[in-house]
């Protein structure tokens, strides 16, 4: 029975969800996020350029000027700008990924409850998880690509593999975003996000070989860097941008595996927590 006026003539019927693939339902979630993003797209892209330009100028060139004069052997003959750029790329994308997995996700579950609205249609909780992960991957690709362009413009890359450093950074971002998304789905208020950023994201941002080689840390602290997912991302990006990937291919593979595993585990948990949140008892 048509609920609409003038229901005469050929009308489009609602497709039966059995024959609509999972890709398609997931894509509708991405479409929703894209529609939201359209409104803030310009400001967001502008900001994406601003951050790397500011950081690379202030730290890479400004601070780097002092660092390079002291000619520390720890940088293995690199300029500080060349050392810093891959670290900042991975760390910035990681921060964006962490943010995208907190407030926008809590919003959909708790504030405007858009995910609940989706779940009253053929969209399933898994579509909501995969759709948001896909959307975050897209957002991070934009942030990473812009950062990559700025890095090249600063002449801070030594290898054409810089092109692959962007997806490596995106993967780093997802390795943070997916477990954090799983955590967010268990929260009703943003209260614990401050703790997450203060004691999780920010310390990792600072102590994962981003701004200085972890060899500069006391030797007993160095193994901790191995536990930091960001360190693996930073190292991978650095190998790609400095063209040293093929000197230690096994190490690169370890970095990649750590990031892929974290992302996959994060998705597995998010599938459970998001479904638990949307399905009532």
């Amino acid at each position: 029975m048509s609920a609409l006026a003038g229901a005469e003539g050929a009308r489009v019927t609602t497709p039966d969800p059995r024959i609509v693939s999972g890709w398609s339902t997931m894509a509708r979630v991405v479409e929703h996020r894209a529609l939201q993003y359209r409104r803030t797209f310009r400001a967001s892209i502008f900001g994406s350029f601003g951050i790397p330009v500011l950081f690379l100028t202030a730290m890479g060139l400004g601070l780097g000027g002092y660092v390079d004069k002291s000619a520390d052997a720890a940088l293995h003959g690199l300029t500080y700008l060349q050392f810093l750029a891959p670290g900042l790329l991975a760390a910035t994308v990681m921060q964006t990924g962490s943010f995208e997995a907190t407030f926008p996700i809590l919003g959909g579950l708790q504030w405007n409850k858009v995910f609940h609205a989706m779940f009253s249609t053929p969209i399933r909780p898994a579509d909501i998880v995969y759709g948001n992960v896909a959307w975050i991957a897209f957002r991070l690709s934009l942030v990473g690509a812009v950062f990559g362009i700025v890095i090249v413009a600063f002449g801070a890359s030594r290898s054409a593999l810089v092109v692959l450093a962007v997806p490596a950074a995106v993967l780093t971002g997802l390795a943070f975003a997916t477990p954090i998304m799983a955590f967010t789905a268990t929260q009703r208020t943003p209260d614990r996000f401050a703790t997450l950023f203060r004691f999780g994201v920010t310390p990792l941002f600072l102590f994962s070989g981003t701004f200085f080689p972890i060899e500069s840390l006391p030797s007993y602290l160095q193994p901790i860097a191995w536990l930091s997912p960001l360190w693996h991302g930073v190292e991978l990006c650095r190998m790609l941008m400095l063209g040293t990937l093929f000197e230690t291919p096994l190490l690169a593979l370890v970095h990649l595996l750590v990031l892929v595993t974290l992302t996959a585990v994060g998705i597995a948990f998010a599938l459970r927590t998001v479904e638990a949140r949307l399905v009532k008892g």
């Binding site: 029975m1 048509s2 609920a3 609409l4 006026a5 003038g6 229901a7 009308r11 489009v12 019927t13 609602t14 497709p15 039966d16 969800p17 059995r18 024959i19 609509v20 398609s24 339902t25 509708r28 479409e31 929703h32 529609l35 939201q36 409104r39 405007n112 409850k113 858009v114 609940h116 609205a117 989706m118 779940f119 009253s120 249609t121 053929p122 969209i123 399933r124 949307l278 399905v279 009532k280 008892g281």
Partner: protein
Amino acid sequence: MSETLTTDAGESAREHAAAPAAQPAAAATDSLIHARGLTKRFGEFTAVDGIDFDVQPGEAFGFLGPNGAGKTSTMRMIGCTSPISDGRLTVLGMDPRRDGTRIRARLGVVPQADTLDNELTVRENLLIYGRYFGLPRDECARRADELLDFVQLTDRGKDLVEPLSGGMKRRLTIARSLINEPDLMLLDEPTTGLDPQARHLLWDRLYRLKQRGVTLVLTTHYMDEAEQLCDRLVVMDKAKIVAEGSPQQLIERYSTKEVAEFRFAPGIQETLDGQFEGLADRIERLPDRVLLYADDGEAVVQGAHGRGLRPETVLVRRSTLEDVFLRLTGRSLID
């Protein structure tokens, strides 16, 4: 028939409303919703305790009851967003446990709390919701414009949702729930929290849908809403159904034609023990007033005067569902 509907013979959304499919689960009934012993438990707590009901195509069916009676839990089970704990439930001839996604594709859900996207415009909210159902973009646009007109929001289409009034948001939510041309609409307390004018406008739109043959299932704790909209309703209290029928049937069965309401000056009512006996068929003493149920309210008032009772105000009115609920549960609908 569109090329998207080729998997099952007779599986067209439109055909279902007229004659629910001959699926094995629905073989015994033509009901759009068929529930037997339907139960929902959350741990130790039983929210819905073995209820039976059927909703027929084209009717407006209501769940009337106070907060916490189990109405929303029932709606969520029908809406396939909450698994049933026990009993049997078929919706549109299908089993929610197996076919939740397919059922949801043919429902129009108006949840208790608004779930609109405040970051999008009014029209965009409709467009993206249509996309959830897999409708092509041009079809979403066509339906969105029709629906905006139907809920009288055409001139707000380009505005963001946030500054809209509560009544406008509810109307938009109703428009949104219609974008897939549902076979069955689920409305969970559609007018709670709205001012009287906004409620009447909403009732008018729902009434029009009913006229067009849309099956409506709604919950409410407003007896006037239930009387206005429902062809048939069940009264729920403490997780169980305590009565079922049309509003008129329920009033006839559980109440008298009229009610005389007596209000006394503070402190007087407590002293009037036994003085109402025999004046009416039934007497209810509420904290602030005494209700005397009889087919002739005026005669009760005369009788009370004859006994020298001097209430501050007297009101003779027709019985309502509120009285039915009071009779069945001993409590008011809204505390």
